[in-house]
Every structure is written in C-alpha cells, then in structure tokens.
C-alpha cells in the first residue's frame, strides 16, 4: 500500500510538473500582463485623483445633446487636455518586453539563443529565412506582385490586367478563401475595400449599422476618462500627420465607439491580455471596459468612408491582428515574437551591422519597435502601407512586419555602418516615406545570399 501511495504521489507530482510546464507561458503572460495592466491602472487612477474626475460617469442630458450635435466635428474642439498625461508610450512597453524572463528556462535548450545579443530574452521559436521563404512563397522573384509589377515601366498586359481580372472574379464569386490567397500578390486599389471586407467576412447588414449606432449612443450617454486620452492621442498623432489629418473626426468616432464595444472584450476572455477596466458609476452596476489601442484606424479611412463599415473593418482588423501588437503573448504574431524575429533575422543575416549598432549603443530593436507596434502606419506612404496590410491579411500573420523592419535595415545598411551614435542611426531611419515595400521584402527574402 505504501508503495502504491508513493507511486501515486510520484505520478501525481509528475503530472503536476507537466501541467506546470504546459501552463508556463500562459502563467508568464498573465504575470507580465498583470503587472503591465496594474501599472496602467495605477497611472490612470492617480490621474483621476489629481484631476478630481471619475474614471467613468454618466453624462447629463444637456451634455449628451451637445455631443450628438457635434458628433461629426469633434476634431474642432479644443478642450484643455494639457493635464492629461499619456498613459504609456511605446518606449515604456518595450521596456516591459525587454524585462520579460522565463524563470523555468533551462540553459540546455537552445544553443543559438544563448548567443542571442538582442534585447528580447524570451526564447520563443521564430522562423529563419528558409522557413520564411516557404511561408511567403507568393512573394518570390518570379511571381507577379502589385507594388512591383504595376509600376509605370511595366506594360500592364504582363501582369496587372490579368491580376485585376482575377480579383474581379474572386469578388463576384464572394469567395473569401480565394480572396485571401489572391491578395498575397497585392490588391488593385479599386478592389481593395471590397476584398478586405470579404476576407474579414464583413458584410453590411442593417444590424451592423444598428450595432454601430448603439455604440455611438453609449458614447453619447457615458463619458469615460479614457475618452480624453483617446482625444489627446488622436490630436497628437493623426492631426499632425500629412495624410491622416483629414480623417481626424472619423478617428474620434471610431475609437470612442471602440472603447465601448463589449464584443471586443469578450474576445479577450480567451486571451491572456485582459484590458484594464473602468466602471460606470451610478445605477448601472454593469462593468464597462476600456481598451487601449493604437491609432491604426487612419489608413482604413482611405478605403471606407461610411462610419459603421469603417468601424466594423477596424474592429475586425484589431481583433484578428493588431491587438497582438499591444499585448504580451507567445503567439508567433505577438509583439514579443515579432521583436525576436526581427532581432534574430538581423543578427543572423546582417551580423556586421547588428554588432556595429550594438557597439554604438543603438540596439536595432529600439528603432524598429515603434514601426512594428503600429504596423508601420504613420511611417510608410499610404499606398505602400496598404500593400503591406494586403499581405497581413493574405498570410494571416504579422510576421511580415518583422521581415520588413529587417529589410529596411538591410536597405540602409551602408549608411548605418557609418553612424556612431543612436541619434545618428535614428536619423538614417527617420524617413521611410519614400520606401517601396514590396521590392524591399522581395530582395531581403529571395535575393540575399544566406
């Protein structure tokens, strides 16, 4: 009996150990995200105390009417936002990621990881170039691409016309899977809005418009502290942007509604990234959540000008892809993996550059992080950005962001080798607005000696 018991306890111990091991990453994630979340909440709460405003409150009727009237022109408001501090900046987030450690990491695991000299210290599995080539096979040199083979020097009969024709066929058959495959070679401008909607399975049903109206009503009725933060964020970023300033008002509408959207938050129930919460005071007794997001709405305004459609597309893109850029997870498209992928690609295939930059105190990730965390929006020209996002949809992955970041460094390698400070490196990489995304990706993946 004693033997059985001890066997049993051994077995139980082993099972528990195994369970612990398998839960490792989610534990890690929860811990890390938990402390990140606490930090944000703490900042929010101290702001509330300082400014003596509640995290959330119901608007009085007069105020509701006023907001409804100026729903379409919130950009022209000039409230005093000077006291509102940004709750966090990408830099802060990067610091958190850098400090992630895996406590159960065994040194014997990955030899190559031990020699990893980048900032990320979590040994997640990332692809190397041969694997990326397999993955992104449609970007190969002998396959037509929009963003390369539609330039003015190339006669349209060679690729473009046929590609457009195929796109129209895919749309008329409403084949979502085919659309996703098709868009790997890029989308013609005129077809893009419909193709994205098809891939994201968004159709304009009356109930979708109603849903948006409902969210709008929530915004009108309740005022959240984060609204001011949204407002400030948009004011600072979009209104100063050369392309997106035009859509400032749309951004408020979409983001304010987004912050009320509980269906987004139910998505997070299955994800370790639980967003910070705020509560409506007073009679509701419900929990209303506030979510943090980046301004990735703006490029979408180039495609959709009907608010509820714009909203749906944005929400779907966020829930499928972009949320992974602001939450800590081990997912291959999560920001941690992207950072690691970027660093690994650089260190493996551009070692001289990588070491040089490291020597001068310019860890490459410190520069490329802000590009990746915003999926390059605000850094590339709009048409290039849309071509990049075509591929995100086509491959259902954000890994291409890391590959592009590495490709940009490769492209500017000569200049970067000559800089002697982080500031100088930043200057070399400050302006990406003239870059052509597809040639860069193609050359990096398929035309570089590995």
């Amino acid at each position: 009996m004693l033997q059985e018991e001890s066997d049993l306890s051994l077995i139980i111990a082993q099972i528990v150990q195994k369970l612990k091991g398998s839960n490792l990453y989610s534990q890690l994630e929860r811990q890390a995200w938990g402390s990140w979340e606490k930090r944000i909440l703490k900042s929010l709460n101290s702001m509330c105390t300082e400014l003596s405003i509640p995290l959330a409150r119901k608007r009085p009727v007069g105020e509701q009417k006023e907001l409804l009237n100026k729903w379409n022109e919130m950009g022209t408001d000039e409230p005093d936002l000077s006291l509102f501090r940004p709750v966090y900046a990408p830099k802060d987030f990067l610091e958190v990621l850098i400090n992630l450690r895996n406590p159960n990491y065994e040194n014997g695991d990955s030899l190559s990881f031990r020699t990893h000299l980048g900032l990320i210290q979590v040994p997640l599995k990332v692809k190397d170039i041969p694997e990326l080539k397999e993955c992104f096979v449609e970007l190969g040199l002998n396959i037509g691409q929009l963003g390369i083979d539609d330039s003015t020097q190339v006669p349209p009969e060679l690729f473009e016309n046929e590609h457009v024709r195929i796109g129209q066929k895919v749309l008329s058959e409403q084949d979502s899977a085919a659309a996703q495959q098709y868009i790997r070679q890029g989308s013609p401008t005129a077809l893009r809005a419909e193709l994205w909607a098809l891939i994201l399975n968004i159709s304009s049903q009356p109930e979708d418009v109603l849903y948006y109206e409902q969210l709008k009503t929530n915004v009108i009725q309740h005022d959240l502290l984060v609204d001011s933060l949204i407002y400030k964020d948009v004011k600072l970023t979009a209104s100063n942007d050369d392309y997106y300033f035009v859509f400032e008002d749309y951004l408020y509408q979409v983001l304010l509604c987004f912050s009320r959207d509980t269906s987004v938050l139910s998505h997070f129930a299955f994800n370790s990234a639980s967003p910070p919460k705020s509560y409506i005071r007073g009679k509701l007794g419900l929990e209303e959540y506030a979510v943090f997001y980046p301004p990735n709405v703006a490029p979408l305004c180039f495609l959709y000008h009907e608010p509820s459609k714009l909203y749906q597309i944005f929400r779907e893109m966020y829930v499928r892809f972009f949320f992974r850029l602001h939450s800590i997870s081990s997912h291959p498209s999560g920001i941690v993996s992207l950072c690691l992928l970027f660093e690994t690609l650089l260190q493996t295939y551009l070692p001289q550059l990588f070491y040089h930059l490291r020597e001068i105190g310019a860890q490459p990730l410190r520069i490329s992080f802000k590009w990746m965390v915003r999926a390059f929006s605000g850094y590339l020209a709009t048409d290039q950005l849309l071509l990049l996002w075509d591929r995100i949809l086509g491959y259902n992955s954000l890994e291409i962001l890391a590959v592009l970041a590495a490709a940009v460094f490769a492209f500017r390698a000569v200049n970067l080798m000559e800089v002697t400070s982080l500031a100088a490196a930043e200057a070399v990489l400050a302006d990406l607005s003239t870059l052509k995304v597809m040639p860069l990706l193609q050359i990096f993946l398929f035309a570089t000696v590995t």
Binding site: A190, D242, F302, L303, H305, T382, D383
Partner: protein
Amino acid sequence: MAGKVKWVTDIEKSVLINNFEKRGWVQVTENEDWNFYWMSVQTIRNVFSVEAGYRLSDDQIVNHFPNHYELTRKDLMVKNIKRYRKELEKEGSPLAEKDENGKYLYLFVSQSNKEAYVISLYINNPLLIGGRKFDLRLYVLVSTYRPLRCYMYKLGFCRFCTVKYTPSTSELDNMFVHLTNVAIQKHGEDYNHIHGGKWTVSNLRLYLESTRGKEVTSKLFDEIHWIIVQSLKAVAPVMNNDKHCFECYGYDIIIDDKLKPWLIEVNASPSLTSSTANDRILKYNLINDTLNIAVPNGEIPDCKWNKSPPKEVLGNYEILYDEELAQGDGADRELRSRQGQSLGPRAGRSRDSGRAILTTWK
C-alpha cells in the same frame, strides 16, 4: 564670367534665389545686361508697355507672357472662352455640339458686382473628404502658345479647409462662407480661404480609386487635363506669343461630388512662399524643373530655340499638350494617365467615350 547666365528678380524668395545660385548664375540689376528676369506681374506690365519701348534681345528670357491677363483675369477669360466656343461651333467641331459644353461654365469667385461679365456658378455639392472641402492646386508650364506646348507638374496638391463643410441656405450668398465658416482673410495672390492642410494629388488619386473606383477617377483626371488645355487653347489666338517668354501658372480647381472638376481661377504668379519644410522642397523642385525646361542646360539662352526640351530634363513635369506633335502624326501625344487609358491612335472613336479622346482636342 563670360558664359554665365545673369539673373535679376524682384521677388525675394529663397526657392528662386537658391535655384539661380546652384546653377552658378550671376546676380545683376535690372539696369545691367541680364539674361534671365524672374519678375512679378507688375513688372512685366512695365517691361512690355508701349511707353517703355523695351526691346528684349535674343539672349533674354522672362517668366511671363505680356498679356497673360487674358488667361488670369476672369472677365477676359470668359470672353475668350465664349469666342473659342463660337469658333468650334463654326468649324462644326464635335466638341461644340456637346450640350455639356454649356456646363463648361467657369466658376469665378469675385467680390465685385460686375454682373456683366462674371459668370458665377455656385458649386453647392463639392466633393468632401473627411467631411472637409478642398481645392486642387496644379502647376502648368507654358513654353509657347503657338504652337501650344504645355507641361503639367506631377506634384500638385489639395488644400483642405480647417473646418467642416455645413451648407446652410442663409450662407449661400457668400461663396466664401462655404469655404470656411470664419471670416475671410485675403492672402495675396491665393484666393480667399484658410488652408487647413495639404494632400498630394497622388494621395487624392489613391483615395478616389479606393473609394470610388478606377474608371471614374481616371475620367476625373482626364477632365482636369482637358479643362486646362481648353483654357490655354482658348487664349492662344490672342496671346502675345513673344518668344522671350514662358510662364508657370497655378490652376485652382474644385471637384464636385459627382467627380466633375471646375476651374476656379488661373494664377500667373503662384505663391512661392512656403509654410512648411515639405512645401519649401516642393516649390524649390518646381522652380528647378521649370528652369531646366525654360533655360536649357542652364546656359545663356537663345530665344530662337525650338522650345522642345529632351525628355530627360522634364523632372516632375510631364507633357500635357504638344500641338506640334498632336498635329504631326495623328496619334495622341497628350498627357495620358497610365492607369486610365490604352496607348495608340484613337481615330474614329465615338464622341460618347467622353473627353478621354484626346485627338478631338486638335
């Protein structure tokens, strides 16, 4: 210093002066022997006035045509357009028959009440982007009117209003209130409204193709080119085609929500002031490309040259209309957007294809 171009200007703008200096040109005064004079519109009046008795020599070039006001003054423009249309009718040109010709009213914005000559068509359905009204500024270089040779600068831009557009009947009287909902401020040669930011024309094109489709967008741009060429053709017969002259115009165009373009006005002296760094770069490059075409090789000019620069020096300009080439072999040589049109001769196309038919421009 033999062989260096001697320049004068009465417009103290760095985008000009930097361009002269980078070519190694030498600054002189008006009273000395000069080869190149970038002058304001007031000065050109003096230079070519009967009293002044100015005679330009073969190695002197100026940046205005003597009677550019045929194009830039709205009353004269109307007169010229009317005359041009009558001529087309007489010739039995298919263009004149289109009842759409009636719609080629030019929208003139005017503070005066000279009803006699002003045709005011009020655009109450402007195309809005992000709920904002905007207009287009395009630069057009004319090197000669007879034969007509003109170039369009590829890097035009849209100027947005700061405030949202909200039509209201009480404000219909005053066109400008629809441009801005605040008091109007005159800005020198720009027409009156407050600019709230700019887009490039290529950005506009991307937006319109994405939201409206390729065909209608291409048609819009074709119509814009057509309007510009028509305006130049209309004044060509009365323009003093002095061979010492070239001119860079600023065309202001507005688009309505049916994607139809309307000409607001033509500026003979487009602003060279820059509000931002990007602005400065754009205007610097504009002058650079303009000088490359007007003063070939940056050398002392000979006004008798054929004014046909090689393709390589065009920079950001592209040929908008070349009358000689157009009449030469029947194939269209005018500006065509790569996206919208196929290459090749278009004889025999029906009228219904719209103004994409460039051969009917002859």
